[in-house]
């Protein structure tokens, strides 16, 4: 019954959010069913919209892992944007310096460097939390702002490609190093990396001793310490893995989309990941369908703008409602009678 509960309650919460959103839209004078139909059309109705949805979901899968992994250890880290940006910058630099190496080796090096950069940044927040007691939510957010400032400073200053006048960027990667698209689809390999990462991390968290230890730390730190678990190492590693995922997302953005590191890298994917991780209740496997859902929502935003003249903040409102609704539904776990096991026989009066 528990499995049904973990599925039904979030789905119910999302439906409730949808209904609230419909009400919101109706109050503003639009037909909610028309809005739903357009959202469906924009997100899932044709091959083109599906590719649109998946392309948007791709970076979000990885940045959501940046929230979900530390969350297993009980940390609420929201610094994915900073890790992504630094990962992208490192990847661009490494790729440029290895321009003459074999493409596969260079790409692996780029990915490794990006993952290391992202891992270090988020692990810093984890370390500050573990050894100095600094709240990781605030520190990871501050680190994001600092990372973006460093990024901008370097990209427009010492690392700027002199030829990139009107849009300051690092030196572009050679064509051979760029990441291609998934077979047949108009979506790049970033989606593939994301799916693999989610599956691997799901297995890691749910089916290994390490993952179990991590979840103990997340559940009750004191019990973990009493049991002799290396809490600091676990926390750091969880943060590092999360940061590596976000760094990888940055590398994919550079190597599959832009070809160099520039201000377009700062696109809010980190923040989108936060939303997805929470709706997926920090479960790496659930992140996949939720990313598709949120990606679809974002993809349909364009349709809403163009057909109904609704501002693009419309999608933000829906996302916010969904987020809040899911959080509120946490209260219902274990409370709904329909999901509780059949009552035991009444004790004799």
């Amino acid at each position: 019954m528990k499995a049904a509960e973990t599925l039904a309650i979030p789905v119910g919460a999302l439906l409730a959010a949808m209904a609230l959103f419909g009400l919101f839209v109706a109050v503003l004078g639009h037909n909610p069913l028309e809005v739903y139909a357009l959202i469906y059309r924009g997100a899932f109705a044709s091959a083109f919209s599906w590719q649109n949805t998946l392309a948007r979901a791709a970076p979000l899968v990885l940045t959501a892992l940046c929230v979900a992994l530390p969350a297993q250890a009980g940390l609420m880290v929201i610094g994915g944007e900073g890790a992504l940006v630094l990962g992208g910058l490192t990847a661009a630099l490494v790729g440029h310096s290895l321009a003459s190496a074999t493409p596969l080796a260079a790409q692996l090096a780029m990915a490794a460097a990006a993952m290391l950069a992202g891992a270090a940044w988020i692990a810093l927040a984890g370390a500050l939390r573990h050894w100095r007691g600094v709240n990781e939510t605030i520190s990871s957010l501050l680190l994001t702002y600092i990372a973006i400032a460093i990024f901008n400073h370097l990209v427009e200053g010492p690392l700027k490609d002199p030829a990139s006048l009107n849009k300051p960027s690092t030196t572009p990667l050679p064509e051979a190093l760029m990441i291609g698209k998934l077979f047949g689809l108009d979506v790049h390999w970033g989606l593939g990396f994301g799916v693999i990462a989610c599956l691997l991390l799901y297995v890691l968290v749910s089916h290994t001793t390490w993952g179990f230890a991590l979840r103990i730390v997340g559940g009750n730190v004191r019990a973990a310490r009493l049991a002799g678990l290396p809490v600091g190492a676990l926390v750091l590693l969880a943060c590092a893995i999360g940061g590596a995922a976000a760094g990888l997302a940055g590398m994919v953005e550079v190597a599959a989309v832009h070809g160099s590191a520039n201000a377009s890298l700062i696109a809010g994917y980190g923040y989108g990941g936060i939303l997805i991780a929470f709706i997926a209740r920090q479960n790496p496997l659930a992140i996949l369908p939720v990313s598709v859902l949120v990606g679809g929502l974002a993809a349909s935003g364009g349709m809403l703008q163009r057909r109904l003249d609704l501002p693009d903040a419309t999608v933000l409102v829906f996302q916010g409602l969904a987020f809040v609704s899911i959080l509120a539904s946490e209260a219902l776990y274990g409370r709904l009678r329909v999901f509780q096991p059949r009552a035991q026989a009444e004790p004799a009066a």
Binding site: G133, I138, A149, H153
Partner: protein, 306 residues
């Protein structure tokens, strides 16, 4: 009328401190109340933006900027109330709700605020405290906004209230030990919800300052994380309202440093200078936190100190 040369930098930092600190002041005082009661509200960024929009719209609609301030406070109160009520539900994590409301508040504000980017609403007046000076720059620097003075008065009042009044004691008790409060018969959830709502009210007023005085217009890029920095500010200030005032001034000054240096020709690394407030915040947090002695003065029930 000649410029002030290098004197311009400290003066600009001072002037900037007064200007830019007011939203920090209000948001941090509001968050102070909320956190003293044992809740942490990260959604104040969304409340700030919502307050800015509502304040601007109300000022435009009624022609009176003070009505705008009141309306902004009301909107903030509503969002704070929502946060408080959601967190009262069992097993709901207040940090997560804060992030969710930040998204929701910002989205809603942008959505409803579309109509108000163009029109020009009446602004809050300034009080020319620098009338004694001949230098135009000094006069402009000391052109103080009434909300700043209101905030200062509020900081003093709150400090006194927490120390002496019964209401202040109740809030602190709920924040330090919910068991003791329950034993005394106070509804912990109610007190926390009300405290969060009041925090939201102040954050909304702080937001109205942004749109009705400085920079004095409504647009979607108005806030750049000030709501979140204010939360860090409260920790830095040790949950003391008077120290919140000084911390807000410090942050405002740090924010004004970048442009001030550029105006005297120091142009290297303006991104890094613009990141000064965040670095200062982080540095201060690292210096003042410790895992062993949980932050001195922290309300024991606050989830981030556990």
């Amino acid at each position: 009328m000649t410029g002030l040369g290098w004197w311009g930098v400290p003066l600009a930092v001072l002037a900037g401190a007064v200007r830019v600190s007011t939203p920090f002041l209000f948001v941090s005082l509001g968050e102070c109340i909320t956190e003293k009661s044992g809740r942490i509200n990260l959604g104040l960024e969304g409340t700030l933006v919502m307050g800015a929009m509502v304040g601007y719209a109300a000022s435009y609609g009624t022609g009176n900027p003070w009505v705008g301030v009141l309306a902004a406070g009301a909107a903030g109160f509503a969002l704070g109330l929502l946060h408080g009520m959601l967190c009262t539900l069992p097993r709901v994590n207040d940090i997560a709700v804060g992030i969710g409301l930040m998204l929701f508040g910002t989205g809603l504000a942008f959505f409803l605020g579309k109509a108000y980017v163009q029109p020009k609403a009446p602004m809050l007046p300034g009080i020319p405290l620098g009338f004694w000076s001949d230098a135009q720059a000094v006069r402009a620097a000391l052109q103080v906004n009434p909300l700043f003075l209101l905030g200062l008065a509020l900081a003093v009042a709150l400090a006194w209230a927490f120390r002496t009044t019964r209401w202040g004691l109740v809030v602190r008790m709920v924040g330090d030990s919910s068991d003791a409060a329950r034993a005394m018969g106070y509804g912990v959830g109610t007190v926390r919800t009300l405290a969060t709502a009041c925090g939201g009210l102040l954050a909304g007023v702080g937001g109205s300052f942004l749109s009705l005085y400085y920079p004095g217009s409504w647009s979607e890029g108005l806030s750049s994380g000030q709501g979140l920095m204010a939360v860090a500010l409260v920790i830095f200030a040790g949950w003391n309202p008077i120290r919140c005032f000084w911390a807000a001034l410090l942050f405002g000054g740090a924010g004004a440093l970048g442009p001030a240096l550029q105006s005297v020709g120091v142009t290297w690394g303006y991104y890094l200078f613009n990141a000064a407030p965040y670095v200062v915040t982080l540095g201060i947090m690292i210096a003042t936190c410790s895992p062993r002695r949980t932050l001195t003065g922290a309300p024991a029930e606050l989830s981030i100190t556990r």
